[in-house]
Subunit: 365 residues, 2 copies
Amino acid sequence: MAGLLKRVSVIGSGNWGSAIAKIVGMNVLENPDMFDPEVYMYVYEEVVNGRKLTDIINTEHENVKYLPDIQIPANVVAVPDVIKASSNADILIFVLPHQFVFDTCVKMKSAIKKAALGVSLIKGFILSEGEGIQLVSRVISQTLDINTAVLMGANLATEVASEMFCETTIAVEKPEYDSILKRLFETSYFRCKIIRNVSAVEACGALKNVVGIGAGIVDGLGFGDNTKAAVIRLGLMEMMKFTKVFLEYLDLRPPEDNSIFFESCGIADLVATCHGGRNRLLGEAVVKSMKKRGMPGVDIRLLEKEILRGQSFQGPLIAKEIYSYLKDKNMVDQFPLLVAVHRICSREVDPRNFIDCLREHPEHL
Amino acid sequence: MAGLLKRVSVIGSGNWGSAIAKIVGMNVLENPDMFDPEVYMYVYEEVVNGRKLTDIINTEHENVKYLPDIQIPANVVAVPDVIKASSNADILIFVLPHQFVFDTCVKMKSAIKKAALGVSLIKGFILSEGEGIQLVSRVISQTLDINTAVLMGANLATEVASEMFCETTIAVEKPEYDSILKRLFETSYFRCKIIRNVSAVEACGALKNVVGIGAGIVDGLGFGDNTKAAVIRLGLMEMMKFTKVFLEYLDLRPPEDNSIFFESCGIADLVATCHGGRNRLLGEAVVKSMKKRGMPGVDIRLLEKEILRGQSFQGPLIAKEIYSYLKDKNMVDQFPLLVAVHRICSREVDPRNFIDCLREHPEHL
């Protein structure tokens, strides 16, 4: 019988990776008819307080560096070798920083099961030199030659780890995976809705980071709830439009209608990001820096050091690629918000002019 | 020529009425080819600091009681007599508390121009004994026998008065009014989008007050951005569904698709209300009162006295009528959020159980 049980591996162990490992670790135990009880979690090895992080996780059952104070179930086993972590898995949950996805997949390629299902939790595009923006799920699918689902929603990791009620959207092309994914991810506090159209859901997860910067800019400028709501709405309208043109360009299926934007991956993730996300923080910091130092303000790399201790902000990179795509297609005028965020992040435009860029928005015509 | 110029009257002078009078007062001056430069504003007469409020407004050009520190243009003339205020108007802007609409219309009826256009800025339903919920625009249309448009959006009055950038949605059935409404209401900081379907836009404006209470409840319970985003999203889904069944029930045209919920009257107003609205404040206060006094907590009338100095919260009344409507139709199970808000406001359910009411939401199935 054991051979029929699905083995699950989590590839990545940051705060979101650790939070999802907690959920998945519990759910495999609660569904012994479906899942193997052992879950490997690939952990990039590092030394924390003189000990290996994998050892700490496997003895204390806590990721003290990225998700302190949260108990990870003991059946989640930290593994520093990505080939060992992934080789027997039927379900591979990807939750790495986007820039490591391709290299990691190349390493795993020869070892993984042919019939494995990938599930990407990575909210961002992959930017490759000269090739522009690419969807993470597509890079996984193409590199490993496996089906890849995505899971995206209003899921700030520390809140999920604290079991605060939220929702998420799982997109998978083949309905045969619906029940297994629901049983793997859903809990009483983490409610899952399954839909199709993987690419559109994933595009939402990346694009909202750019709008989040815009929300931070209006916060920094001292505007109130009306203005922020307008930025969120205009941002959503641009996300919808951009998703359509971009997926067509990638030869992928755009959504038939706009209903996915009403899912957690759409409006909910956007609202949460615009209030509690790190890109919002960046937008606010850009304005504060400009107020303190004058234009052109501080380089974003410096803010990454100050705010994220070296991690990177996704939003500005995505905004830059979107801008270069729009410029190529002669569509800059149709996306004033996404473009303004890029120009502010690249210090071409004073953040105080952000609103002026929106006054004649095509949505108002 | 003067006879061709449209006269505009504002019926109401609270904070939103005064804020819109500022906009309209400026716009009639900027469009002298279209509008008569004098705008009457009907002000319910009261004595403030020993002087009549109309006198204060007409000499200081400030509504010191409801919108202090904001200059109202001198061409806006406060008039204490609603018949005088409305009798020559071509455009009647209604911005009264909803409970005064019907009686005010009855008073105005014989005096107004037959071809006048009403524009309702009132966000709420009218609740009439035994007849349930009625749309304000419909009460105006039917009582006065005039066309009525609505203007709804993420428009917290004090922020609009301070000229902070925002958007609004104007719904009017006849396109012949589009250009006049745009010129009357739009400014560089108040951006107007004109659409059709008056009733659906108005339903949004009322329903979001109920969801706003839910957002306040999760704030009071100490949840974070994920949970609030889930409440906003589930609330929006219930608003969409309720609008459909309710307008059918009223023999009114439901929206052909869900696009109006992407307008400022939909998602943006909801987001602003759930962060900065008075019903959000109420939801938070209900939880705090329960924590302090235990269940069944404090009567909402007491909170109205404490928080609003006697004004009333729209949300609980609307929630109650929605509940009784849903019970009649045997549809309570399909609207767990709207129903839970009612039950909490009526002190039947402990606000700590709010989230439990949402875990098995039909949206998650």
